[in-house]
Amino acid sequence: MRLVTIVLGVSLLLGVPTAPTHAQQPDSTQLKKFQRANGFLRADQPERALPLLEDLYTDAPQNTAFYRKLKQTYESIKRYDDALQLVDDRIDSAPTVSLLAEKARLLYQKGEVDAANDTWDRAVALAPSRPQTYRTVYNVLAEVRHFRKAIAVLREGRDALNRPGAFRTELAQLYGLDGQFEAAMQEYVALLSEAPGRLNYVRNQLQTFVEQGQGLEASIQVLQQTVQETPLNEAYRELLAWLYTERDDYAAAFDEYRALDRLGERQGQILFRFAQQAADAQRYGVATRACEAIQEQHPASTVAPKAQKLLGDFYRRWARQGADSTSTAEDSARYARARAAYKSFLQNNPQHSDHPEALLRLGTLEIDVYRALDQAQEALDQLVSNYSDTEAADEGQYHRGRIAVLRDSLDRARLLFSRLAASAQSSDFADLAQYELALLHFYRGQFDAAMARATSISENPSADVANDAIELKTLLQEARGPDSSDTALRTFARARLSQRQRAHGPALSMLDTLLQQHPRHPLADDARFRQGDLHLARGDTAAALTAFRAVPERHPRSPYADRSLFRAAALLEASGRPGAAAQAFRRLLTEYPASLLTGDARGRLRTLRHSQG
């Protein structure tokens, strides 16, 4: 309390003007009265504070502290006329810009907008050649959010002062708040031409209204025009490029970044950064163009090798992303470009740190896309022998094992997977190798050994392959017999190996044999479902449809029944038989209401209903 008293006393003393006639040092009585008034105001009792403040003001009208507090109190209870009278008294004795601006504010609060505007004009007219005049009036106008008038005052100030660059940031902000986005952008453009280093400031300011579609479009239009007129200004282009990415227009942003790279002689560095940004947003078309531009225009730059490797990555991801939505030809072309990019990178940059990663990617492409096992083997052998201590080498070793399986070299596969299981740096690959070893036992009919390995993996639920191991374990538990040599399961295991090796014909005939010899075996439903898949892989949709339809007919309670029905329905839909497809989807909903595929079936039914009108 003592501190408050001292501060209050000092402020009251400061409030005493130098003019001697009315000036009085606030005596202790006034000080106490003022403190009491303040106490009432803090207690939200303005009606009790008011008589005290009025007395104080009558005693010392030139005391600024008394004047302000009284005016503030009148305002708080909306006695605007009384507050205005106080201001008018001061204006009568010595009009100033701030007093007139204050009077205008009170008139505005009172609802007399026209009178307020006139008074603000009077304030400006009082000292039109001083920049501070416009700032004072602008501050008051911004405080009451009277943006249009504030804009008019600042523009008037520019003209009167003959300084077209005055109040740049204030006007830009006001235009933005008032929804005049083009005008705002024009101010920012002018600001950047005077101070290109303020790009980040401008970007921060724009962030508020780029979230409004209208603001974004207007800003882009202004900047496009500006860039056209001053194509060498980097700040404009950078801002425009950023706005394009905010609009998700990466193609347009690419043009700007390419120009920026050229203007700044950055040797592809800006393009490289942009390529990564575009790829993160899954705009692979633009990302690959940016990488290709680096190769063409800056083949000797430091980022060129990395861009070459990324080019392969981006084409590969693009092909994979488009697998469901684009044509096979397009995907093939993308894979081909990925393959070419990796090969080119490997050939030209043998010492690069990304070399092992590129070998791995090329190797997996050769296996999974091109089924070119020799080429894959070559890349992966090189990876494992030259970069044995890398994680890429572990994965390479795993794929070498896969190649051995595909080539039916099961002994070699066992050797490779065993080594990997023993030496892998990552537990994921060790688990994966263990699972492959279990499968190798399974393919060979060594079911007890397969079971032991599958059990061991499934005991670690955090392993990625735990689910696969559990599935294998369940198969082994349920499908042995009926004879002691497990003939049906052996045939099934061989069929699965053939299927994995893409030997579709032999796999189909093995499954046929199984079904003929053991028509009631627990594996019969799985075998039929797998036959459908194999026919599909061979491109025989009619046979696939027959196989899928057979599952719910012959094995209505099988876990494969709903899946088969769904596949059959999808095949019917794809072959232009919407009526039959809808019937199959409906059957799935009716007969298998608990199926996990019901949501998808409903979705397909909706689409069919819409397409059929």
């Binding site: 303005p46 009606e47 305002e75 708080s76 209870i77 909306k78 609060q109 609802g111 907008v113 405080e143 009451v144 959010r145 708040l177 008032d178 929804g179 962030q207 508020t208 209204f209 979230e211 409004q212 409906r586 909903l589 009716t590 209401p593 019901t598 949501g599 409903r602 039914l605 909706r606 209903r609």
Partner: protein
């Protein structure tokens, strides 16, 4: 007011008695008890059936408020596609069900639903459905609706709609009292848009615009409209109506102070549901008034302990509140919002309490009549997100297809579909 309520009850009751449904060759029964796999989609399917001009009987208190309608291939397919459980019943079985429902002494009744109501949601442009539980429910249940805002309301478009939901609007003109976000782009944008809209319609302040809109809504109800609102859309609506002769908006929001005698000038005769409440005049405090009792204290804010119970009404004598409380459970999990629960002490006398928190002087779900229409207020933000914060991800209703809390919202959209006929004299 009480007379009107009784009259409305009698009208709906008469409907049930006069138009006892006749069982056709085959009917579809859509159970709404625990056997239903997707309660929320069931409402959408019933709505779609009504759109096809096929009547549906709402069997109040029969297996959670089940629906019975004539079996047609279109309806069957609609139900299948939406994943709604149903059973086909023969004419004999349907008659038996109806006889059971209509039997003397059973607290069940049949309400025929005849016409799909025209639905509007009052929400600003750019508002996303997941900001609002009702829009989430309508989107998920696939119930078509229009989104309207101030312009449509002030231009008199309300008359085209049977049912109206108020989005999370702050009718007091304080922008949700989110002053702490005042420097965030979304807040700046919201304030600018609201101020521009106010100016466009000739209002100097946003609070004046919102008050005019609230008055239009009140007029809509008095002329027979069905109004539904949730969370702060309930509380601020009545505050705005009460403050029609004064200024309760602090300077931080509208640039001038609150009227010194604002509290004395509140006009509770102008409100729909609440009386004698005190608006919170502190700009920095998030609460709008003492209508809301607020969330449980932090130490007790436990979703597993927070619940409210639904009142059981006589299906034959009180069909309106019965319709609004149809559910497969008697207790519903509580949920917090800017307006979490209504203070029982400030409820108007003729307001019907539909759901309340046990052993606490607070209610969660209320209903009342005004003129020829009705209003229903439901407190809290999102029945399946106990405490929703700004920027939280939207609730995925496919994970809550049996949500009792959301069912209460959807009961409201079918309630205007109930056939109204004058009682024979």
């Amino acid at each position: 007011m009480r007379f009107r309520s009784v009259l409305l009850t009698a009208v709906v009751l008469a409907v049930g008695l006069l138009s006892a449904p006749s069982a056709t060759a085959q009917d579809l029964l859509i159970p709404m008890d625990a056997q239903q796999e997707n309660h929320l989609k069931a409402y959408g399917a019933v709505y779609a059936t009504l759109q096809e001009e096929q009547t549906v009987d709402w069997l109040l208190n029969y297996r959670g408020g089940s629906f019975l309608t004539e079996a047609s291939e279109t309806v069957r397919e609609e139900l299948q596609v939406r994943g709604v459980s149903f059973t086909t019943v023969s004419a004999g079985q349907a008659s038996k069900i109806i006889a059971e429902v209509e039997a003397d002494g059973s607290n069940k009744s049949v309400v025929p639903l005849e016409k799909a109501p025209e639905i509007a949601v009052y929400a600003p442009e750019g508002a996303v459905p997941w900001d609002d539980a009702v829009r989430l429910a309508l989107e998920y249940a696939e119930v078509p609706h229009d989104v309207i805002y101030d312009e449509e309301v002030l231009n008199g478009d309300l008359a085209s709609y049977d049912w109206l939901h108020l989005h999370h609007e702050d009718f007091t003109g304080q922008f949700g009292k989110f002053i702490r976000y005042r420097n965030e782009p979304w807040y700046i944008q919201k304030q600018n848009k609201a101020e521009a809209a106010a100016k466009k319609f000739g209002f100097r302040k946003v609070s004046q615009l919102k008050r005019a809109v609230a008055q239009r809504f009140k007029q809509y109800v008095s002329q027979g409209g069905f109004l539904f609102s949730m969370c702060s859309g309930t509380e601020t609506f009545d505050i705005a109506l009460a403050a029609h002769q004064t200024d309760i908006v602090p300077e931080e929001y509208d640039g001038d102070p609150v009227d010194p005698d604002a509290l004395e000038q509140l006009d509770f005769a102008n409100t729909l549901a609440f009386r004698d409440f005190s608006p919170n005049l502190n700009a920095r405090e998030y609460e709008h008034s003492n209508i809301d009792v607020g969330p449980p204290p932090p130490k007790m804010r436990d979703p597993s302990l927070d619940y409210f119970t639904l009142f059981e009404f006589s299906a034959k004598w009180d069909p309106v509140p019965s319709m609004l409380t149809q559910n497969h459970v008697a207790t519903v999990r509580g949920f917090v919002g800017q307006t979490t629960a209504f203070n029982k002490d400030v409820l108007k006398e003729d307001v019907v309490v539909l759901g309340e928190a046990p052993d606490r002087p607070q209610v969660r779900y209320i209903h009342g009549a005004h003129g020829q229409g009705t209003f229903t207020f439901y407190s809290g933000h999102d029945p399946e997100d106990y405490q929703h914060f700004v920027g939280d991800p939207p609730t995925d209703l496919s994970l809550h297809p049996q949500s009792p809390g959301y069912r209460l919202i959807l009961n409201n959209i079918l309630f205007p579909a109930a056939k109204k006929k004058k009682q024979k004299t």
